[in-house]
Symmetry: C2
Amino acid sequence: MSHCDVDTEIKMASPSRMKDATVLRKVHTSWSSGLLLAALTLCVLTSGCNATDTDIALDAKATLNHRIQSLDLLVFVFLLALTVLTIWLFKHHRVSWLHETGLAVIYGLIVGAIIRYAGTSATLVHMQVEPQGVPTYTDKLPPDTLWFKYPVNQTNGTKLPEGIKTYAYVFRGQVHDVDENEIDLKATFDPEVFFNILLPPIIFYAGYSLKKKYFFRNLGAILTFAIVGTTLSAFLIGGFMYGCVKLMPKYLSSSFTFLDTLYFGALISPTDPLTILAIFNDLRVDVNLYALVLGESVLNDAVAIVLSGAIQNYGEHYSNTGEFETTAFLRSLSDFFSIFLLSLMIGAAMGCLTALISKFTRVRDFPLLESALFVLMSYSTFLLAEATELTGVVAVLFCGICQAHYTYNNLSEDSRQRTKQIFELLNFLAENFIFSYIGVSMFTFPKHHFDAGFIITAFICAAIGRAVNVYPLSWLLNIKRKPKISSNFQHMLFFAGLRGAMSFALAIRNTVSDARQTMLTATSLIVIFTVVIQGGAANFLLNWLKIPVGVDDETEQLNNYQVHSVYNSMDNSHPQTDVENGGGGRGKLRLSGGTESNLDTPADGPNGSLGGPSGGRRRNSHEKAILARIWANFDTKYMKPLLTHSRPTLLETLPVCCNPIARLLTTTQQLTQDGSEFRRVDSDSDICIDNDTGNGLGQDVGPGTGPGAGRRNSLSRMEILEHVQSPVSTRIRLLGFYGKKL
Amino acid sequence: MSHCDVDTEIKMASPSRMKDATVLRKVHTSWSSGLLLAALTLCVLTSGCNATDTDIALDAKATLNHRIQSLDLLVFVFLLALTVLTIWLFKHHRVSWLHETGLAVIYGLIVGAIIRYAGTSATLVHMQVEPQGVPTYTDKLPPDTLWFKYPVNQTNGTKLPEGIKTYAYVFRGQVHDVDENEIDLKATFDPEVFFNILLPPIIFYAGYSLKKKYFFRNLGAILTFAIVGTTLSAFLIGGFMYGCVKLMPKYLSSSFTFLDTLYFGALISPTDPLTILAIFNDLRVDVNLYALVLGESVLNDAVAIVLSGAIQNYGEHYSNTGEFETTAFLRSLSDFFSIFLLSLMIGAAMGCLTALISKFTRVRDFPLLESALFVLMSYSTFLLAEATELTGVVAVLFCGICQAHYTYNNLSEDSRQRTKQIFELLNFLAENFIFSYIGVSMFTFPKHHFDAGFIITAFICAAIGRAVNVYPLSWLLNIKRKPKISSNFQHMLFFAGLRGAMSFALAIRNTVSDARQTMLTATSLIVIFTVVIQGGAANFLLNWLKIPVGVDDETEQLNNYQVHSVYNSMDNSHPQTDVENGGGGRGKLRLSGGTESNLDTPADGPNGSLGGPSGGRRRNSHEKAILARIWANFDTKYMKPLLTHSRPTLLETLPVCCNPIARLLTTTQQLTQDGSEFRRVDSDSDICIDNDTGNGLGQDVGPGTGPGAGRRNSLSRMEILEHVQSPVSTRIRLLGFYGKKL
């Protein structure tokens, strides 16, 4: 019934303000319910029946509710279909000044306005009740259900002897403002749908489709931006907003506490990857900029949700006074880190478990079963984290990264495609639904509170927060970082700070107080503005800042300063690595192709020049990011051999005394390199593996091997392009190409 | 929140019977809530706070509820993952005596038993209330919400001035038996989840993956079995059960009306395709038997849901006395037909609309958008039908058939795979969820009512109903039908009558009265028995009845009696048809392959013999099924040219005066046969199109063309096999094969 929950909300617009606390209240409902109300009346009037009038009326009302819910949801689905068609039209005509999420928002606004101003009104009935007989308030909690005796009108049927029926009422929540014209709770949208249904597939897909090579290459910068930057930005915005709010009129300043503005800071800090990355993808922008923006926005969503949870906990549980208390602050801080790390670990553990299952069973012989298992394990990660009071969204993100890094390599070709395509589609639908909903809710959500002063301040603060996130941290990073983040890149990072789904979801989660409602309105407007205006302007800005687009291979901007892949610079003590995957998927492609150097022709020039950086990488390998190097080493030596069919096997990497265990954990497939058939070209993880292979190759032929590296790089670029296009058709075309060659 | 609704139910086992109507009631809850209750208490006790105790307690309770829901759902997801792994193990070791659905049910039973007997108890609080002040029962309907003032304990915090909070309670439903120990309504599973979330993808997939060639070939028999058979069986079971129930002890016989038993007849009549077809698929059973079982079970689900709706309407709205009334009966009858036909039309119309959109836009250039549009349009069919008070499940079935017949041909290769794979996975997950739930609910659903007499009678009646469905109708059909349904086939049809998801969903939809609860228990047991025992025995039975398995091509059993495809026997006045798709996908494959006759070798013998039936088909073309022939003619002449890129175009089939319109409705692609690239081998509709092509070919070379038909047939058999296997890898293998040949 989730969908129904989602959209029952749209059937009401913000009510006119009535100050008298009547029992009967009128609320605006959408045209759909208006249309159907006539049907209800008709239905009640015409039915000759053997049941009582009340039964009939209740039955008709239930049917009516179901129809209204279906109709409302239908409006959303049509809205999405319309968005899809318009997106196609825009792409077809190469319109670049408006992107899909912006389009979804704008359509949402239009439909929301129509619903609001075409809305008719229906009556919802409230009744004040008190306990029957002597009140027995023995419990701390209000009762779970109320049983209410109601005398039934019996005009014609006289079969039922009793004239009274008992109806059950279920606890919903507190009525915060009895005198206000509060929207009937029954029809209030449950924002938890965002966190339980819509966000998980989006976040999982972000993790699953992360281009790990570039991600790990820029790991330091990404972590700095995401964790330090987001926290910094949250506190800065929180403090600044608090100061500004206190200068505002009394009614507003009195409703805001510092925790409220801090919460606002936390929810407005995370940036949204969707729009900007769609543009980057279309334009094939520099891969390192892409990785920075993607990595940061994925991680800062995770940081923001945990941070806002910690702030809320601080206010609700730890602090007695509402003022600053050291112990409460420390408890919140430990909450923040423990929840983040534990969620991360649960996600990673479930990802690894899936990898183990897919490695040690031959469930890949039945791709449907395999895909089902993959989906179920990924979903159970979310549930497991939620059931242990951790953050499901964070767990799902790291589960996605692990699934892509390990499990993906064990999957059958069919499952790889299927899982990618399914999550791609889910992601697309969920993200467009959210953005449509942001548009619609601007007009229909009843708990908006417009305050121009606050909104303007919020816009300014959001921009300042983003600037603080980008510029000082870039400066700091540039001190040690050899491929400096140029100032044009910094400006682009600043402008890429669109706000999106996570900000909105966090804002709409709690709209109890005036402060929270004001925050929701400001957040909605910031999201709409940044997505439509900034998203639309991104294209022009890329031109203006002269950021290279249409980059066809690894001629990255950052390369001028000699790229070091922290991930590449691993310990090179394993001559086996060149057997590993070079003998796997890549080798096989060469076998069937045999002529792939032909494909290199257009890219040969720039690639050849990579010999330099390759040597530089080697030189600098011990200079930086010791943690990342240790991890990469550990990963290649133990994790991958354990969790995938890659070589070296554990037999080679574990000490001799562990041989029996190592033998147990090594599959025959792994030893016989039978695993080759499970490596294919369109894998992001393969890019990563390929990377290792390249490393090995480099070692074999010696450092600075121009041609070897060139071939590898042009191939991985092809893989990236393939990933953007339809992988199947490309592959078939490739095979056909080889076939003809032969 | 749908999932939560689904499974909150499992946290209670059937309660011990307490006959006193106390305000506090204990119900069994699962171990999960038991475990977490300690946490709640702890949480309440330890929290030093600035809010009131009640706030904290409520907050903790909400968190607790969320965790319980997550945990309960997690149990289900793990159960499904376990089922998937065991299915793999069984398939891996070729265990044939237990199939996947049976496995899901058995695991469900085990987990249900564990939940029930390991259950701890938690307290749910009810309170009787009455209106505050003077009662104002002015309305026919009970109020939508109750507002309940509750004094709040304030032991430490004194910030809030008022000691009373108002809580809102939302209307849930009638309490039918105040004295009975009724399970708290809050935790009652909402069976509408079946009809709104789980059944639609299953039914859509059934329509979308229907092998239309064989379906249309056996259309007459399928329609007879599905519509006449199901209705007959429902009324027969209803009548017989009524007679038997009246002979039973008073307490049971008094609670049953004839409408109840008729409803039982309607819900127990539809057969479930899942298990039996999985077996048939694995064994590659005779295709016509496959088509009969599949077609019947898909359609009788649709018939049953509309029929049971009509019966319910009869009882609730039309009949005043509960006895037979002619007008009420006629109204129900017209309901039945109008709802069925209108749902069918909505489904077909939405399918055609999708086909038109996919034909006249080039949205296929962006497969993700195309797939999203496909999913959205299919889902909106369901919503549209529900919003207009028709039956969404029926609409979705016919939408699926139209999507496969028309839209599928316009889709890009990527979208074809993606949509098939997505719905295949959704279908798999939904179906296994339902069967697991059937198992679990046997122990945990609180409204079971065991009555051995009723259950035994129900088993006998279900068998009789199935027999009446199969044997007399087969006899009737065999009078006119040339490829007679042999008695072995009839026995197999009888045994293939497993009951499944639809029966269970209809039974659990309404469990208000004792009669309905008894029916639910009987239905659950029948489903479990037929799925586990009959499903397991199907394999042996196929052997015993000497039904051909491992059929590799069209050497169907029925062929001995000369097959006529009613669908094939269309007007052959269009020489263009051979250009149509022979020049399309098939031709392309031949072009790249050129040697596919090599692949025919194992099948050449049997195929050659098809020349006979092919001639026979031609001879008999005017003998039967005039309606089907008219439709097929209309379809080829107008529908396909309008909705797909197939030839002949409308320019050729419409009268000359309509040329401007025809030109408008014909794409350039259609005229230039550019559409060829959009036809591929793994399409069921292609089998159908291929069929037309074959027809054309047959006409070209003359009737009874052994080799031509042979080649075509062996190819279509290959297509079917490919469909069963992974389509991509097969195609790649094929292309590789051709590559090598060249």
